[in-house]
């Protein structure tokens, strides 16, 4: 089993969805009843991987959410950001990423860290404002470990 789980809860006209595990051929995306829902928040913090069949299943499911006014994507992990950049239409047009993870790396120690970039604080429509002064456990400076033109591409779209 891939450990896929989709949890949902409703607060007024806000539908909160969180997805856990591996999005693949076994992922059971259920049809949503969106009556009375204006905004959907999708938290992807615990998505560990998505494969090529999972991409197809995600696109089919996310298209079915197009009827609401806004979709907010939270805690988007690198494995999903890569797909957002690579696959046009991975996110529906009414979806906006509110926060996503960026890998940092220390050339000295080889240590890695995932840093959460938040809309309004670290990025907005005008560009990216990365946090500075991130250090590894030995005090060495860590740098953003992506090709920025590719990884931040989705912010321009």
């Amino acid at each position: 089993m891939s450990g896929f789980r989709l949890n949902k809860s409703q607060e007024g006209d806000l539908l909160k969805i969180s997805i856990d595990g591996h999005i693949d051929e076994e992922s059971a995306f259920e049809e949503m009843t969106l009556d009375g829902i204006s905004t959907i928040q999708i938290d992807l913090e615990k998505v560990s991987a998505i494969n090529s069949v999972g991409i197809r299943e995600w696109i089919k499911w996310s298209k079915s959410l197009a009827g609401v006014s806004a979709i907010e994507i939270l805690h988007c992990p690198k494995v999903v950001v890569d797909q957002v950049n690579m696959v046009a239409g991975f996110l529906p047009p009414n979806a906006k990423v509110q926060s996503f993870y960026v890998p940092y790396y220390s050339e000295d120690s080889g240590e890695e860290e995932m840093v959460l970039f938040k809309r309004g604080e670290h990025f907005d429509e005008n560009g990216v404002n990365p946090p500075e002064g991130l250090k590894d456990s030995d005090g060495n400076e860590m740098e953003i470990d992506v090709i920025e033109a590719k990884y931040f591409k989705f912010l321009n779209g």
Binding site: S52, A88, D145, V146, I147
Partner: protein, 243 residues
């Protein structure tokens, strides 16, 4: 189909490599790839072997510092296998972004081998009880060399059509991924593209009717950013064997 896609230099390099293989060449190796010599050495070794279909990882790549081997018969064991590969990769000291890329390749290769290699018709991805026929499993190995790690996936069917395989990947670059996704029966049609996107070297070894192997090489001790800037090597080895 969408308007002509604007290519970046990385995509252009991969497309050049794919076109070389589609023109009948057995390799496209870039001198700036850290595995330039090692990958060419594979071809020398493979060509010198009397029987490719039974060759081990050491036969094909020389001595390895450590090898972990796994086998799989059915789809329901896939996540367990991926978990074991993840443990092995972690024990090899690989960093997390590299492990993510390696696992993504392992997933695509295993899924493809289970669904496509043994069957003539497209198989619905919803079949959870899927099991391969025959007396030999699909084998996956992860092995460590100096500053590199090699992931291999071998099926005993040897049904891959090399030209169609490379042409499908090329079409993903030409048309874009969104326009390449198959929403009909069978796989999504983009799995092989996703493998090529993540590896530094991809070697395909084929003995029709007997063996298809994929070997993915990744540099270790390198930031993810530098790893993504490495120009890719693509190689294809094919031989008919009667015994």
């Amino acid at each position: 189909m969408s308007a002509a896609k604007k290519l970046d230099p990385f995509e252009s390099q991969i497309m050049a490599a794919l076109n070389e293989l589609l023109s009948g060449k057995d390799h496209y190796c870039d001198p700036l790839n850290p595995f330039y010599d090692l990958d060419l050495e594979f071809l020398v070794r493979a060509n010198s072997l009397p029987i490719f279909s039974k060759a081990t990882i050491e036969d094909l790549f020389g001595p390895r510092e450590e090898v972990k081997s796994f086998e799989i018969w059915k789809l329901s064991d896939k996540q367990n296998l991926l978990d074991q590969v993840q443990v092995a990769a972690t024990n090899f000291g690989m960093n997390n972004t590299l492990i993510e890329d390696l696992l993504a390749c392992a997933d695509e290769l295993i899924t493809n081998s289970l669904f496509n290699a043994p069957f003539a018709q497209k198989v619905d991805r919803g079949i959870k009880e899927l099991q391969i026929p025959g007396s030999e499993p699909i084998r996956m190995e992860i092995s460590r060399g100096q500053n590199e790690v090699l992931l291999s996936c071998t099926d005993p069917f040897g049904t891959l059509e090399l030209e169609a395989y490379f042409r499908k990947i090329l079409s993903c670059y030409e048309n874009g991924i969104a326009d390449s996704i198959n929403y009909g029966p069978g796989g999504s049609g983009i799995g092989s593209f996703m493998v090529v996107e993540r590896v530094s070297s991809l070697i395909v070894g084929l003995v029709p009717g007997k063996r298809t192997s994929f070997f993915c090489r990744f540099p270790t001790r390198m930031s993810s950013r530098k790893r993504k800037l490495v120009p890719k090597n693509l190689l294809a080895f094919q031989r008919k064997e009667s015994t």
